[in-house]
């Protein structure tokens, strides 16, 4: 789906302090590279213009120059100087952007699944999926894990990406400096739906973040609407609960698929492929494969009425 309210997706859209350093270094390197490319192209054009064989050529051979030590030293030394400068800047920016983590506890643990993201805030006791929130102006430590294959977490405007590798937790710092919605995608090939394993990051002011956390911690109220009550029963008796968790519903405590405790708060379904509303949720449950071929959620074989009731129940989980 077209997520219209998102910020511009580009590595040059600086949304984190870290990316500011990356972008500064990027412009510097780019300038050098463009300069070199122009010099090479310019020399080639000069050579073509100057040294084409003349029409009335006498067939003699030009001067056979073997080489020129001075020239060769120059074109070894200058590049060496350039890469030395780049090497020093690399070290500085690396250490500024990703200082050693030590044994600090991460603020957000991101777990890559085929093909969705699980977000845990261990210090705040919150677990959610696919859409996550960060407070602006606060350096946040991420940890990445994988539940299955190798994934890579990349919110483009945050700059840096980091792999999620089984058995090898990794870390990354993100210090958001502007509010808004920022998009990303899994960037390590992870199977069928790699291309639609989207990331939706919401950077909000601290108060708004605190409110969001409060809402996430709250256990949703039990349904009262008759359709939603029927939906809950169906949800618990169909195979939904084999994979999904809903806090406050003791039959639904599985951790295989995304946590649905507050699914109604999310904007999208299926990791960003559909807008979140009752109609789409109903269609998604009836056949997720049409929206995301290869997805691990099976076709649920629900009648229209059944799907409608479950959708009403899930959309009541605010």
């Amino acid at each position: 789906m077209d997520i219209k309210n998102a910020d511009f997706t580009s590595i040059f859209n600086v949304a984190s302090l870290q990316n500011r350093h990356l972008v500064d270094l990027h412009w510097f390197t780019l300038a050098i590279c463009v300069l070199i490319a122009f010099v090479v192209t310019g020399l080639l054009i000069a050579v073509i213009a100057k040294f084409r064989t003349p029409e009335n050529d006498d067939g003699s051979e030009p001067r056979q120059v073997q080489g020129n030590i001075r020239l060769e030293i120059i074109w070894t030394a200058i590049p060496l100087l350039i890469v030395t400068v780049l090497g020093v800047l690399t070290a500085i920016v690396m250490l500024v952007v990703n200082p050693p983590v030590g044994n600090k506890q991460p603020d957000v643990v991101v777990i890559g699944h085929q093909w969705w993201w699980e977000y845990r805030y261990p210090k705040l006791g919150v677990t959610t999926a696919n859409e996550f929130y960060l407070p602006v102006g606060k350096n946040t430590l991420f940890e990445f894990r994988s539940a299955d294959v190798v994934h890579s977490f990349w919110v483009i405007a945050f700059g840096q990406k980091m792999d999620a590798i089984p058995g090898h937790p990794t870390n990354m710092w993100v210090h958001p400096i502007k509010t808004g919605k920022f998009l990303g995608t899994c960037s390590e090939y992870c199977g069928a739906q790699h291309g639609l394993m989207r990331i939706i990051a919401n950077v909000v002011p601290q108060e708004e973040f605190d409110t969001w956390i409060e809402k996430q911690r709250a256990v949703p109220e039990q349904p009262t609407d008759p359709a939603a009550v029927r939906g809950k029963e169906l949800f618990n008796s169909a195979t939904c609960v084999e994979c999904h968790r809903v806090a406050g519903n003791e039959d639904a405590q599985a951790l295989i698929g995304p946590d649905l405790t507050h699914i109604a708060q999310r904007e999208t379904l299926g990791t960003g492929v559909l807008a979140n509303n009752t109609e789409n949720l109903k269609k998604w449950m009836q056949n997720p494969q049409t929206f995301k071929p290869g997805v691990n959620m099976p076709k649920m074989r629900l009648t229209d009425e059944e799907a409608q009731d479950i959708a009403v129940y899930l959309e009541s989980l605010k």
């Binding site: 590279c33 080639l44 040294f51 030009p62 073997q66 700059g159």
Partner: protein, 554 residues
């Protein structure tokens, strides 16, 4: 041959008339390096068409957002096979074809050191390649990408046979590659003409020597890893299974320990071809040939110490990352030396803009762009932004298509008269060249921008509404048709010229290395007699008496 006289051949000037090459059996059973070289190159071109059509399918699927030209299952097989085919079944045989055809001729030898091993290498490659394509019939081709990272490549995630075929097929061709690598090293070290010291071998041969070492020392890492993944999949070993103490990262180290030198394996013969073409069509000695050779050695060594730059986003900690950043930056220096030396070779020459030379000049620009975008991956913070995005796709296509393919096509135009006895059509060639330049740059340049705008690699499709993605992908896809058309035109030119090209004679370009002393096509054992070599350019010496190594200018 019944023995007795040595000179039983009558001179022929067309490949189709060479008496020893008549009949299909003569090709199937040949241990002649020239026939094997031709077979290698023709097979490579055959697979190039297959690989290019798969590339075109990728471009068709990505032409519009959320489109469904092929299913995601087929797409993932196609891009896996596109990469695998282009690297192992096009790149490798193309370079081996050039290497085994030209090396003996350029050093004045009768054949490779081990002709039967040479034949073994070719047939093992061909059958290995066919075996992998057979997987399409066996229930599905591999679908884990050409890099096949576990756990995705383990049977828990891809359970059809394709991945087994992949491991087995590359293992088989890998053995053939090592055999050919050894063969090339031994040939160059032991079979050079009298007087041809290692300082006097043509730059192409020098590059092939380094290539041999790269193959022999890097391919075994891949072969070992392939056996491990095959055991994981078929014998339930757990080399790469993190849940019981294996390590997915281990595969990444193994794969890239092979994978990065592989890039240089592919590009070195192209550099070699350029280092022959530019001097001849500038009518000058290669500028700074000694430094050129030395920089190749430097690259060979350094290329074994840069593999972790494929894993900069794998969270390995500061020190290991930084060491590999330094080596990756350093390798830019000897690479830069080459570009400057080629430019300096042209400077002050008398340029002839043959199609071979046009390709060499396009190579210079495109390879420079590919090299410079490569620097972005050595500077780790930029790698964190750009790795696994379409920027990488742009980068390595500039190196491998804009670099390797352009340089070897340049080599084809240059050596075609030697191989077939006929000249290639320059008219068709110029059409092909311009179509290819525009097709190639049109297809791949915009991918730099797509990467900057955040489009990841290896995606089956992409969402609506991402800024610029749809437009740039559409643009790229349109030009990809031109690129494929230019390749087909190139192949047409090969065939057309074979029947209608002008008869070339032994030395149509007035070139200076030993292969141009032989007949076109060369006779059974290449040379009637080989002169004593006294410089890098023996044919210059034959023409002018001396001066093959040029004049000193400190």
């Amino acid at each position: 041959m019944t023995g007795g006289t040595i000179h039983t051949h009558k001179p022929v000037n067309w490949l189709a008339e060479v008496p020893e090459y008549q009949g299909i059996l003569s090709w199937l059973t040949s241990i002649d390096h020239k026939q094997l070289g031709i077979l290698y190159i023709l097979s490579a071109f055959g697979f190039l068409v297959v690989g290019a059509l798969m590339g075109l399918t990728i471009r068709l699927q990505l032409m519009f957002p959320m489109s469904h030209v092929v299913s995601q299952e087929v797409y993932n097989q196609i891009f896996t096979m596109h990469g695998t085919t282009m690297v192992f079944f096009v790149g490798m045989p193309l370079l081996f074809g050039f290497a085994v055809y030209l090396t003996p001729l350029m050093i004045g030898a009768r054949d490779m050191a081990f002709p039967r091993l040479n034949s073994f290498g070719y047939w093992v490659y061909l059958f290995g390649a066919i075996m992998l394509f057979f997987s399409f019939l066996s229930g599905g081709a591999p679908a884990a990408g050409w890099f096949a990272y576990p756990p995705l490549s383990e049977k828990g995630y891809l359970f059809n046979n394709g991945q087994n075929y992949w491991a087995l097929s590359l293992f088989v061709t890998g053995i053939g590659s090592v055999a050919t690598g050894v063969n090339l090293i031994v040939t160059i070290l032991t079979m050079r003409a009298p007087g041809m010291t290692l300082k006097r071998v043509p730059l192409f041969v020098w590059m092939i020597l380094m290539d041999g070492f790269l193959v022999v020392f890097s391919l075994p890492a891949l072969n070992a890893a392939l056996v491990m993944i095959l055991f994981d999949r078929t014998l339930n070993t757990k080399f790469f299974d993190a849940t019981v103490g294996g390590s997915p990262l281990l595969w990444q180290h193994f794969f890239w320990f092979f994978g990065h030198p592989e890039v240089y394996i592919l590009i070195l013969p192209g550099w070699g071809a350029i280092s022959e073409v530019i001097p001849v069509f500038s009518r000058k000695l290669l500028f700074g040939a000694g430094v050129m050779a030395a920089s190749t050695v430097a690259i060979t060594f350094l290329s074994f110490g840069v593999w972790v730059h494929h894993m900069f986003a794998a969270g390995l900690g500061f020190a290991p990352l930084y060491i590999f950043a330094v080596t990756s930056l350093l390798i830019a220096v000897p690479t830069g030396i080459k570009v400057w030396s080629w430019l300096a070779t042209m400077w002050g020459g008398k340029l002839r803009f043959t199609v071979a030379m046009l390709h060499a000049m396009a190579f210079l620009i495109q390879f420079t762009i590919g090299g410079l975008s490569g620097v972005a991956f050595a500077v780790i913070p930029l790698d964190w932004q750009l790795t696994d995005s379409y920027f990488v796709v742009a980068h390595f296509h500039y190196v491998l298509v804009g670099g390797m393919l352009f340089s070897l096509i340049s080599g084809v135009y240059y050596w075609y008269p030697k191989v077939t006895g006929r000249m290639m059509s320059e008219t068709l060639g110029k059409w092909q060249f311009w179509l290819m330049v525009f097709g190639f740059n049109g297809t791949f340049f915009v991918m730099h921008i797509l990467g900057v705008l955040g489009m990841p690699r290896r995606v089956w499709t992409y969402p609506l509404g991402m800024p610029g993605w749809a437009e740039l992908n559409f643009f790229s896809s349109c030009w990809s048709f031109v690129l494929v058309a230019s390749m087909l035109l190139f192949l047409y030119n090969l065939v057309w010229s074979f029947y209608h090209g002008k008869i070339a004679g032994p030395n149509p370009w007035n070139a200076w290395t030993l292969e141009w002393l032989a007949d076109s096509p060369p006779i059974g054992e290449n040379f009637e007699r080989v002169p004593v070599v006294r410089s890098r350019r023996p044919l210059w010496d034959l023409q002018f008496g001396s001066g093959g190594d040029g004049e000193h200018h400190a």
